[in-house]
């Protein structure tokens, strides 16, 4: 084994271990990110604050309200007396939805007529509104069918009709955390390896130690590999840490092969380490390196389909996303962890990474020179 390489790796580990703040960042940040994104970045709508204006005050109107409450999508927080009161609650955000049942609701039903009910939804947050909108309709329809059945005296489901039964695969409860945890793993891999590689190399330049290194027999590639290896080790540790916490806190199922996941992560790491290396050749100070790193990471996270589905993006952005390695890694992560499928199911992203990884890393290594000029 190359003793120069070993001594650089050993030295790099000492740097990391002697810097408690960085050490904390490397091991605690993943947990914080996971918990935050797992819990907070959820679009699951549960118990939306709802106000009711019941102008009818009959058993029938209360049944309808009960149907909404029982659906678990809506929590009835307020009963109001006027539309103005309802508007005010919506205005100041105390409720996100309002049900208005006009007087005469029960009478209309009794006469066999259609009864009108208004459902107000706060559309300022589209993702909440979309879910609330769908829920208001489906709960209402189910309730309507019950009324029909009672009126006709037949079981509607016994009549010949189309019966659609959706079945959600991979994530039957549609939990956001299942979707987020694999994504957070990808993001953390990128964050740690790219940023810290760039910092570790720029630090040598900033503190002047590069001047001593250039007159030693250390080769450029030894310096690069020696600097990068400790961070690969830490990245893998973090990967397992996030997986473990994901299972523990969020019940994320791990259906596929962890070994395959680790192997493909290595391919992904070539792209992030290469980017870090590239940044280190541009930045003169650690601050600059950090700035450049975030500058590339933030748009990358969006273009990778981290928060918002790629399918919903304009064509130009979709095209751009093909250049973002994280995009492929997220597909691989979600496929292995949630779907439990193997290589044949996602050959395309793997091929993309197999091309991008060596390309980025080689290009960056060629730019990187162990020199003062």
């Amino acid at each position: 084994m190359n003793s120069r390489l070993l001594s650089i790796i050993r030295k790099e580990f000492i740097h990391i271990l002697r810097d408690p703040r960085t050490l904390a960042i490397m091991f605690v940040i993943p947990i914080i990110q996971l918990v935050l994104l797992g819990y907070a970045a959820t679009t699951d709508i549960r118990r939306l604050n709802t106000a009711v204006l019941d102008g009818d005050r009959t058993m029938q109107s209360r049944q309808l309200i009960e149907a909404y409450r029982a659906s678990d999508y809506f929590a009835i927080r307020n009963y109001v007396q006027s539309e103005d009161d309802l508007a005010q609650l919506l205005d100041n955000g105390q409720v996100r939805a309002g049900i208005i049942i006009p007087a005469g609701y029960a009478d209309h039903l009794a006469r066999g007529e259609t009864a009108q009910v208004a459902f107000l939804i706060d559309g300022s947050d589209p993702s909440v509104a979309t879910t609330a909108f769908a829920a208001s309709q489906s709960v209402g329809q189910a309730f309507g069918i019950q009324i029909l059945q009672r009126r006709l005296g037949v079981d509607v489901t016994q009549l010949g009709t189309v019966d659609i039964r959706p079945r959600v695969w991979y994530n039957p409860e549609l939990r956001s955390s299942n979707y987020m945890v694999p994504a957070v793993m990808g993001m953390i891999l990128q964050f740690l390896t790219q940023l810290f590689t760039a910092l570790a190399i720029v630090r040598e330049r900033e503190q002047g130690t590069i001047e001593q290194l250039v007159v030693t027999p250390i080769k450029s590639w030894e310096l690069v590999v020696g600097k990068v290896v400790p961070y690969i080790g830490i990245a893998f540790f973090d990967l397992l840490e996030v997986l473990f916490i994901g299972v523990l806190l969020f019940d994320v199922p791990i259906r596929g092969s962890i070994l395959l996941l680790l192997a493909l992560s290595l391919l992904f790491l070539l792209t992030t380490l290469g980017t870090g290396l590239f940044i280190s050749s541009l930045a003169h100070t650690q601050q600059e390196a950090m700035f450049l790193s975030f500058l590339t990471m933030l748009p990358g996270i969006f273009l990778a389909g981290f928060f918002f589905p790629l399918e919903a993006m304009p064509g130009v952005l979709q095209a751009l996303s093909y250049l973002v390695p994280l995009r492929y890694m997220l597909i691989i992560m979600r496929s292995i962890i949630l779907k439990g499928v193997g290589l044949p199911a996602f050959t395309e992203p793997v091929i993309a990474l197999a091309i991008l990884g060596p390309l980025i890393f080689l290009a960056a290594s060629m730019r990187f020179r162990k020199s003062l000029e």
């Binding site: 000492i14 001593q212 030693t216």
Partner: protein, 322 residues
């Protein structure tokens, strides 16, 4: 030992070293001096292989630095001006790291390490982080680190700048020991008393070598006479003389006047002039020139005084040095 042949080093717009030719013999302690931005650091960096020359060639022990830098690295030890060891590594970890990267065999290393630690008076501090050492101790550690691969040539860039006088003396004692073991030393220094200790001194100015000889010869061939005098009105005495014929430079140090004149015979005329101006000046005498006098004269020659002033207004052209 070191042969520099028409070396020019150019950065974007500045020429840091201009057509420099110099031969340094084995066993020399060669001092490179000159004002900031003169190109001393760049010269050392090119010799050390840290930088490539723009034109010209440098060879160490007959090995061309451009053709076989790896072989040159084994022969030389380079100590940069800035502390360039790892502040978060201990003394011993720093030494071991540099021994490791030079591939020095572990078996012989224990003895060498122990000897260098003792030599640098760092034995009891070997477990201390480098950042917690005093400035002088850091310099000694840096010197020890450059010696871990037993170089035959040492390149030291202002190793004593910013170090207290006691540590400076200690450092020079170490250099003497190394020198006696046959190591060739090239050192840059802002202190002319240190330059006096060198076997030869080269004065660099604006990228050029404008003088190069033994300190004794430089002093002897100064081409001027140095006068000293005492006066309670030293400043007035100085002002009265500055434009006089034959006076090359005048400087004051408290009540001491120091004049460089072209001939010893000027003394009588000067004393007469002071008397006429009513300035009390006593104890006028001819003294032995110092290296400093030689360099002041060399630098003030051919209108160089003006350009030096420009230099000091612009400040240190540090971009060239760094």
């Amino acid at each position: 030992m070191i042969s520099i042949d028409h070396l020019t080093k150019q950065f974007d717009t500045t020429v840091a070293v201009k057509n420099l030719s110099l031969d340094i013999q084995p066993g020399e302690v060669f001092g490179l001096i000159g004002p900031d931005g003169a190109g001393k650091t760049t010269t050392l960096r090119v010799i050390s292989t840290a930088m490539n020359p723009t034109t010209g060639r440098v060879s160490v022990s007959g090995i061309d630095t451009g053709r076989d830098p790896e072989a040159v690295k084994q022969i030389i030890g380079y100590m940069p001006q800035r502390f360039a060891l790892y502040p978060d590594l201990t003394v011993i970890e720093n030494l071991n790291f540099f021994a490791d990267v030079f591939g020095s065999p572990r078996a012989q290393r224990a003895e060498l390490t122990e000897r260098l630690l003792r030599f640098a008076h760092l034995t009891e501090f070997q477990a201390r982080l480098a950042r917690n050492l005093s400035g002088g101790m850091q310099k000694k550690l840096a010197l020890a680190a450059t010696l871990m691969h037993r170089p035959r040539v040492l390149l030291l860039d202002e190793p004593t700048t910013g170090v207290d006088p006691v540590s400076r003396r200690e450092f020079w004692d170490l250099l003497t020991e190394i020198h006696l073991e046959g190591v060739t030393i090239v050192i840059t220094t802002p202190y002319l008393d240190e330059a006096e200790r060198c076997t030869r001194v080269g004065l660099m100015y604006r990228g050029e070598l404008i003088a190069c000889d033994t300190p004794g010869k430089l002093r002897a061939e100064i081409g001027a006479v140095v006068l000293e005098a005492q006066s309670a009105q030293a400043l007035a005495a100085r002002r009265a003389m500055e434009a006089s014929e034959g006076v090359l430079t005048v400087s004051t140090h408290g009540d001491l006047l120091r004049l460089l004149v072209d001939r010893a015979e000027r003394q009588a005329a000067l004393e007469a002039a002071w008397r006429a101006a009513g300035i009390d000046v006593q104890n006028v005498r001819v003294v032995k020139p110092r290296l400093e006098d030689a360099f002041v004269l060399l630098l003030t020659d051919d209108g160089r005084r003006r350009t030096e002033k420009e230099n000091s207004v612009i400040g240190r052209p540090s971009s060239v040095e760094k």
